[in-house]
Amino acid sequence: MQSKSVYKIPNGKLLKISLIYNGKDNTIDQISIMGDFFAYPEEAIEYMENELKNTFLDKNCLLEKINSVIKENNIEFIGLDVEGLTQGILMCLK
């Protein structure tokens, strides 16, 4: 299944998610994390998109996965945060 969301991060920027997911398993097939936020290093967002494949579309699973990718790659978000990114992804399900 395919879905999109637009979410204004509180005190941050506009996040746009484009998601293709497996509705049966409730897992991510493909995700694009877009918007006018900042992330350092920028290329890490593509790594994040790859790492999120097959992740369960569940708040705790997403928070855990995103946090681990951030820690592993020393990513710094500005105008975006882990909760906001998780929220944006889950909004695609509504």
Binding site: L14, K16, S18, S32, M34, F38
Partner: protein
């Protein structure tokens, strides 16, 4: 004695060329071949730049761009879509380890914006830094800024609006909800201003550049000496323009 930095003025370049020059100077500064560099530049044709993470086709009306002769390019920095027409654009390229540059990214935005704020003051405009990446005067945005750090080097580029045509801008940018487009345009007109609007008269590019040069010199306590790109930077910029910034793969990657 004051530290000497390089000042470049490169007017009227295409979007891909402007972005390629910034990247070439990052490489050259990172390899210690040139001093910290401040560049003032303009765009010809007018260009929309989009942030690294934005979707080109979601942000820009490509048909209208073609009709109005407006170019587009994806930046290596994050942030939003910007219509570059009536403005001075600056970039600063400096080692991350330079004592004048805070390690903390948000603090370094504030510091570099400080140079633009001093530049505006030299034109008689009081302004302030508004995190994350704006400079405002009387509550209205007059400058937007974006930073990246690559090869242990900081690049921050940003706009100083000399004039602004919000209606034209919105004919080129897509909005998430067409139904509220009119309201959005009215809001942006309320929230954005320019040197021309504030001072009530047009200021030539060279005068804005002079004021900004002084602003950077004051903020960083350095002397900016006008120079040119090195031959190596010119070659690198041509390579980046061709292989990256004018390539479909780069601009349409999201």
């Amino acid at each position: 004695m004051k530290e000497i930095w390089r000042l470049l003025k490169t007017e009227d370049n295409a979007g891909a060329v402007n972005m390629a020059i910034d990247k070439a100077v990052i490489v050259s500064n990172s390899n210690k071949k040139v001093p910290p560099t401040v560049r003032f530049f303009t765009w010809k044709p007018p260009t929309i730049s989009i942030g690294y993470f934005q979707s080109l086709e979601e942000e820009i009306d490509l048909n209208n761009c073609k009709e109005f002769g407006v170019d587009y390019v994806r930046r290596i920095t994050g942030g939003g879509a910007v219509f570059h027409e009536e403005e001075l654009t600056y970039s600063i390229i400096i080692p991350e380890s330079h004592p004048q540059i805070p390690k903390n990214i948000m603090e370094s935005y504030g510091r570099i914006c400080g140079a633009v704020i001093k530049g505006l003051k030299n034109l008689g405009i009081e302004s302030e830094y508004k995190p994350i990446n704006d400079i405002i005067t009387s509550g209205k945005k007059i400058s937007g800024n974006a930073q990246t750090r690559k090869m242990k080097t900081v690049l921050q580029h940003g706009t100083v609006l000399t004039d602004v045509d919000v209606d034209k801008m919105f004919s080129l940018l897509k909005v998430p909800n067409e139904k509220i487009k009119d309201k959005l345009i009215a809001d942006v007109k309320e929230r954005v201003t320019s040197i021309k609007h504030v001072l009530g008269r047009e200021i030539p590019f060279d005068d804005v550049a002079k004021a900004m040069k002084k602003g950077f010199e004051e903020e960083f306590n350095v002397e900016l000496m006008e120079g040119t790109l090195t031959d190596e930077e010119i070659d690198l910029a041509k390579k980046f323009e061709k292989e990256c910034f004018s390539a479909r793969d780069w601009n349409h990657r999201r």
